[in-house]
Each structure stands twice: as structure tokens, then as C-alpha cells.
Amino acid sequence: MVERIGAVSQDEPAAGAAERDERPPFMQRLLDNPFLLLFIGVTVPTVLYLIWGILEIAQIPLSPS
């Protein structure tokens, strides 16, 4: 009987207790945090694309007569 997706990874990680307790590195903690990612994923384009863009449009000068 072959082992399939649902059956695996229960015995993982095989590493010792030391690794089990070690705090993951910063980048991994960031990537494991969906709501933090959601926050930066919405904030970055909102600031750089939308807000910056709207500021530019708002500052178009009037045509000199």
C-alpha cells in the first residue's frame, strides 16, 4: 500500500528536540504570518501606487492664460 499525501508528514519533523524548540528565523516567521503579509500587501501598493498617484494628479497646475 502506497503512502499518499494525507498519510505523510505526521512523523515529521524528524529532527531532534533542539530544532523543535528553536524559534524560526525572522523571514520564516514573516512568511508564516498571513495577516502581517495581508497588511503589507495592501499597504505597499496603496501608498506607492494609489496615494502617490492621487497626490500627483491633485497637483496638476492650472493652465496659464
Partner: protein, 574 residues
Amino acid sequence: MATIAIPGQIGEAAEERFRTCPDTGLHVHAKAETLIRVNLITAVTFLGIGGLLGLLVALTRWQAVHLLPAEMFYMVLTAHGAAVLLFWIMFFEVALFYFTSAVVLRSRLATPNIAWLAYALMLIGALTATVAVLQGRSSVMFTSYVPLQAEPHFYIGLILFAVGMLITCFIFLGTLVIAKDEGTYEGSVPLATFGGLTGVIIMIFTLASGAIILIPTLLWSVGIIGHIDPLTYKLVWWGMGHSSQQVNVTMHVVVWYTIAALLLGARPLSEKVSRSAFLLYILFLQLASAHHLLVEPGISSTWKIFNTSYAMYLAVLGSMIHGMSVPGAIEAAQRRLGHTKGIFGWLREAPWGNPAFAALMLSLVMFGFLGGISGVILGTEQINILMHNTLYVPGHFHATVVSGTTLAFMGVTYLLIPIFFRRDIVFPKIAQWQPYVFAIGTAGIALFMMGAGTLGVSRRHWDITFTDALITFDYPATAFFMLGLNGLSAIIATVGGAMYVIVVVASIVWGKRRTEEDAKTNPIAPGAAVLAQYGGEDTFKLPGTIVLVSVFFIAFALYYFINWRFLAGIWPMS
């Protein structure tokens, strides 16, 4: 079948019905499964309708045929965009969101009843907008730029559709929370789920932009608001319009990884690298909405260059990483399976007769070479002067969302039907050829539209002979030839699309029910069986992938500089 202890089956979740998929071992929540089925069927229905509308568009632009009268052409073009670019792809993405959250995490889906509400909103919205367009007074194109005005129910339809999608996104996030709380997995979420999360995040920005602009536009269409600034509209609208395409890119990358995993047991070369590539998407992909604003007045080149380049092309970096790690994962898996002859033995001996695999590879190659390269060139601030609003633009995005996304989604359907409908694919010969037929057709559509666009031919134009215009102008004869070839390609693509719809519908209705026995004798996901243990690739001898990415890079660089040469020939301007 091995019985499996389900960590999630405690407390509240114990009341939920689950089954174990004999083909993949996936632990499937019954309510999620029903939702996936219904969203898939709805998506395919819209693909059928929208695809036929696309054929009408191409046959009209084929000047010798010139099928539709002007007014109907603009209406059909609007309906085509909505039906396939919005409704087909996004209903399919709902199914993928539920798949990558509840199913992949072996969890129950958060709030299934609200997921049905979301589905109802999306369906009512899609139908309302479609009816509005077909009534003929909302031919405003996909972009609906103000002051061009549609009828109020066109905007209402889009808003309802978007609200439904937003709810879906929150259900995805809620499912992540449930799965973590109930401990249905250990450590970090699988890569497919992480990709789904990336799609959901981009989708939320997409829908937020849509709400910011479509709600005032609705109020304007009923006379409550007097004026909407066209340039501001366009800026915010593309925050939605382009970002939604970035969701498509993200989700078809997820599909690539998924198909490769199920068929070949392919593992990402490295979790770190693949996830970082998705992180670059989360951070920067959405900035490319600026691609549509490069020749606008009133916005500085500083803003344009920064945003159009996704902050120094960091999102392109993400795509180039996936472009290496997906074929790399396939090559590694094939070599592990014993296909080690020469540089390309792994590729020659790949399961090309399996439509899911064929679709994956064709989608990967065409998205990269046609869609990806043309997109970066189109999005170069100055080169855009050569191409803005020409047929190059639809040429490019047919390479991305048709050859790339649609083909990938078609491919994964051949796996999703046995998994979620428990039916065998009928007409296996038709299914086997379908990706190739569709790929040839869509490659033609993309290439010939890009060719005509390079010659300056306008997009969204009923008659480029200008028969009734007071002043006329002659496009080169080659352009008309290209549009004829585009029409022929559209016919081929339509045949490919019809083959897909027929196989899907017939399989769902008449397909032989799959038994546990079938899973052993006729496995649809042999890769799932190969993988007894999971982890990144250890050995790294991937000469085939090195050659492939080198060819890609050379093509990219050559075509990039050729376009600068074209640009240098036009009238000096500043």
C-alpha cells in the same frame, strides 16, 4: 487505503463530514467539495459563453469577414471581456481558493453557509452585469472609463460580484485560522496554500481599489455625484483591473506547482526561494497597474518609472524565479523517476499524453516567452509610446490570461474532476489533444495581435479601413494579413475551448464513477503515490533547466533591445 488519524476531528469539527480521496490521499471536507464543484461548473459555463463571444470579435476584426455591425461589435467586445476575464477566471479562482485552503490543509472550510452567500452574490452580480451589457446601453468596454457611462445595473452587478469575491477571500483567511487552531497541519502551510494566500492578498487590494472607484461611479450613473475625474478614475480603476490579472498570474503559478506535484511528485527546489518569490508578488506585483498609465498626462515620469518597474523589477524577479523553479522541480522529479538520459531526456520522456501535464508545460512556456516578455516590454515607460492601446496590448494579455492562466486552469481541471466529482474523464483522446489545439490557437491570437500592434493597429476598433471616416489612413497590408491570421487562430482556439467544455460537461454528467480500485489500477495522480516523504530537492543537477532559462533570458534581452531600437526611430519627442 490506509486509515488516517485526522488531527482536525475534534470538538466542533467532528460534526463535519470528511472523506479521504483515494487518488490523492487528500482529506476533503464535504461542504468545501460541493462549493468547489459548483464554482467550477459556473466558471466553465462562463468560459463557454465568453469564448464564443471572443470568436465573434476576432471574426469581425478579420477585415475580409467583418462579421458584426459596429454597435454589436462594441457590445460583444464588452461582454467578452467580462465573461472570460472576470467571470470564468474568478469563479475558477474561488474553487482554487477553497482547494488551497480547506482541502490542501485537510481542514474544514470556514463558514460554508456564508461561502454560499458569496457564491450567490457573485452569480447574481455576474448575471446582472451581463444582462446590462447585452441590453446594449452599457458598451463601455472592460475598462468603463468615465465619462463613458454605463447603466447603473452594470456597476451594481460588478459591485455585487466583487463583494462576493471579497467574502471568499475572508473565508480563505478564516480557514487558515481554523486549520492552525485545530492543528490540521504541522509547521508552515504547504506552498500551494502560501500561493493561494498570495492570490487572496492581491485580490483584497484589487477589490478595495474596485470599491473605491466603482461605488462613486455607480452614484454618478444615477446622478447623485456630478463629476468623476477621468484620470483619477483610471488610476484607481487599474488598481483593480491590473491587480486582478496579477491574481491570475499567482494562481496559475500555484496550479503549475500543483499539477507537477500530483503527476510527478515534484517538490519545489527550495521552499525558501519559492516562497520568497511569492513574497515579491505580495509586495510589488500590484504596482504594475501603472502599465496602463504610462502615456497619460499629469503623472510624473518618476511615479511611472518606479511603479511600472514594480519597484526596480522585483516582481519580475519573482516571476523569473518561478520560471526556473517550476521546470527545475519537474526536471528533478523526472530524474528521480529514472529519466536521466542526456540534457533533455527528462523532457522527452515526460507524460505529454496527459492533458494536465501538457497544459502545464504549454502554459509555462507560452506565459514566459509570449506573455511575460511582452509584458515587461509593454511596461517600459518609453517603449509604451509605441504600443499603448494598439493591438499589442490584447496580444500581450491573451498570452498571459489565455495561454497562461486559462490553459493552466484547463489542465488542472483534468485532475479536479476525478478528485472532486469522483468521475473519470470521458473522451480521453479529445482531452489528450485539447491543450495542444487550444495552445496553438491562443499562441496565434497572441502573436498575430502583437504583430498587428507593432504595426500600429488600434485595439477596440471596428473598422481599420476607415470606410466611413472623413479623413482616412491606410494601415500596411501586412496588418490586415495579421488580423486574418488572428481570425484563423481564434477559430482554432475556439475548437480547443469547445473540446475542453465538451470533455468537462460530459465527464461530470456521464463519466464513469471512480472507485477505490481505480485509484490503484488507473491512478490520476501518480505523483501523490511517489511521494512518501516530503522535502526540498537535495541533489541539484538540472542541466535541462539551465538550458531552458538561458534560452529564455537571451530571447528576453534581445527582444527588449530590439524595441529600444524601434523607439529610437520615431519622431523625437519630450
